[in-house]
């Protein structure tokens, strides 16, 4: 069915936000791109969902999206969680845009917790839902002080904190939201992605924008921007590894989740990125079909994942 995108959901402006709000966010976004990694206040609006549901990311997406965009939304690595489904439904309703689960097809990808395994390409925009934008928050609760620290590039305290991890545990224990230096100038919180995803921030072909709704802050990484995870000469930054392959697609280079598969405590390690995993599986099925050794007993990952524990 063909629906005119101009007549969707009467009573709302296209993409829900009024034009005045979009303009204000757009101006802040342009400045954020000109000062990579620097947090900029924006006039965050009430959205028809509560904070914690990605209102910062939703407002950024609403400010950039056009009727020809194709939107993908992921929560953890999955497109089928309640949060992702609701956000996708919201934009379908207020913009009439088409949506996709395929990373390669999307023009805008809104995310919390993960960066897709499929490499992002030029022309795509990643929109991150950020709960806490300030990397120095746990070191210095006063915003007056953290603003000064950013202005002076005074980041020694963060290095001291990370080094304390090393003296205590023998390694840096921060697993998510691992701080980075952007363009050798600003320290930035990459949102709660696993450190596994940090290297994907560096010199990405895609534009990456970050929105914190409750704290009313946005920041950005233009494409091809240097993003270094903090480390030390004697303790270089490392990413997680599992020494396992995905049970479904055999990937050894993707972020794996441990998933409970039955009531008897059975567990599997599978890709957190469901699109990546199913793309690999269908490619493998095609290859298998080509040599006519089809295994009819293969089970789709969705069946397991819906019953699984995705903490």
């Amino acid at each position: 069915m063909i629906v005119s995108t101009d007549n969707l959901e009467p009573g709302f402006n296209f993409a829900y936000l009024d034009e005045q709000t979009k303009r204000s966010i757009r101006r802040s976004l342009l400045k954020a791109i000109a000062i990579p990694g620097h947090q900029i206040p924006f006039g965050s609006r009430e959205m028809p969902m509560s904070y914690g549901w990605g209102t910062g990311g939703i407002q950024l997406t609403a400010s950039i999206i056009g009727k020809n965009d194709k939107l993908k939304v992921i929560d953890q690595g999955a497109d089928d969680t309640t949060n992702a489904v609701n956000i996708r439904r919201f934009f379908k309703k207020v913009c009439g845009v088409s949506t996709t689960e395929k990373t390669a097809e999307a023009t805008i990808i809104q995310t919390r917790h993960r960066i897709p395994e499929t490499p992002l390409r030029a022309g795509q925009t990643m929109v991150y839902q950020v709960p806490i934008p300030e990397p120095l928050r746990w070191l210095e609760p006063s915003e007056v002080e953290t603003r000064k620290m950013h202005a002076l590039s005074e980041y020694g305290a963060m290095y001291v904190r990370l080094y304390e991890d090393i003296t205590q545990y023998g390694y840096i224990a921060t697993a998510y939201d691992y701080p980075v230096m952007v363009n050798d100038r600003y320290m930035m919180r990459p949102s709660p992605i696993p450190r596994f995803d940090n290297p994907k921030l560096h010199m990405s072909e895609a534009l990456q924008i970050f929105g914190a709704g409750r704290e009313k802050r946005l920041y950005a990484l233009p494409p091809y921007t240097s993003v270094k995870s903090l480390d030390f000469e004697d303790y270089p930054f490392t990413i997680e590894s599992w020494g396992k392959a995905c049970e479904f697609c055999g990937a050894t280079n993707s972020y794996l989740d441990e998933v409970v598969v039955d009531n008897h405590g059975g567990r599997l390690w599978i890709c957190s990125d469901t699109d990546y995993c199913s793309q690999r599986q269908s490619a493998q099925r095609q290859n298998a079909a080509a040599v006519s050794v089809v295994n009819t007993s293969s089970v789709s990952p969705e069946i397991f994942k819906n019953g699984g524990n995705r903490s």
């Binding site: 303009r23 757009r26 342009l30 400045k31 056009g66 091809y224």
Partner: protein, 204 residues
């Protein structure tokens, strides 16, 4: 005023979105050219893409500095369509609109515009600079965020602009950002764009 009867966007929501996407792409990829398609009849003194950028970015929250050589039609049209405020002081400007970069006597130095502060570098002026073309100026090689390795550009700008631009880059993270706008094409020049070298002049 006759000029105010000139329409703005015919499809305000979608044309503002398309124009913004062009500006966003341009600033994210310094030195590359973007031409968002918008139907607009600009007032005398503004090119179509510059007029579109103004309708997309300006409103009552913004203060605009106009180059004194711009005709009054520009001020009337912007005031009518956007409700923006105007100031004669470059220091006040959220946006500055330049019609002719070669008219040096009517142009302050880039450093006279708002540079932002150490804590709020985003408060700096955004310059909307109209240029003849992107091919007949002094060729410059740039690098910085948004640029893979380096890019060569030659917008029609006087040498003094590039001297000021180098100083502007050195005050990072403070400093102004520019959009260069021809008839219907835009190039972004964020403060992070660094001039690596002035390339040997190509003989035409």
């Amino acid at each position: 005023m006759v000029t105010t009867t000139l329409p703005g966007f015919s499809e305000p929501v979608h044309e503002a979105q398309r124009t913004f996407k062009g500006l966003l792409d341009a600033l994210s990829h310094p030195g590359q050219l973007y031409s968002p398609t918008v139907k607009i009849i600009p007032p005398e003194g503004l090119t179509p893409i510059c007029a579109s950028a103004c309708l997309t970015l300006l409103d009552l929250e913004t203060i605009v500095w106009l180059q004194p050589t711009l005709p009054n039609t520009v001020k009337n049209w912007l005031g009518f369509h956007t409700g923006c405020q105007f100031s004669e002081w470059p220091q006040d400007a959220t946006f500055a609109i330049i019609g002719d970069m070669s008219s040096q006597s009517s142009l302050p130095d880039l450093k006279d515009f708002n540079q932002g502060s150490a804590e709020d570098p985003e408060h700096s002026t955004t310059m909307l600079i109209q240029v003849q073309d992107f091919t007949s100026g002094i060729a410059q090689r740039l690098n910085g965020p948004g640029i893979l390795e380096s890019i060569e550009i030659a917008p029609n700008l006087p040498k003094t602009f590039w001297d000021q631009w180098t100083r502007n880059h050195h005050t990072y993270p403070q400093g102004v950002d520019c959009f260069l706008l021809s008839h219907n094409t835009v190039m972004g020049l964020p403060r992070t764009a660094k001039v690596l070298a002035t390339c040997p002049q190509i003989t035409h």
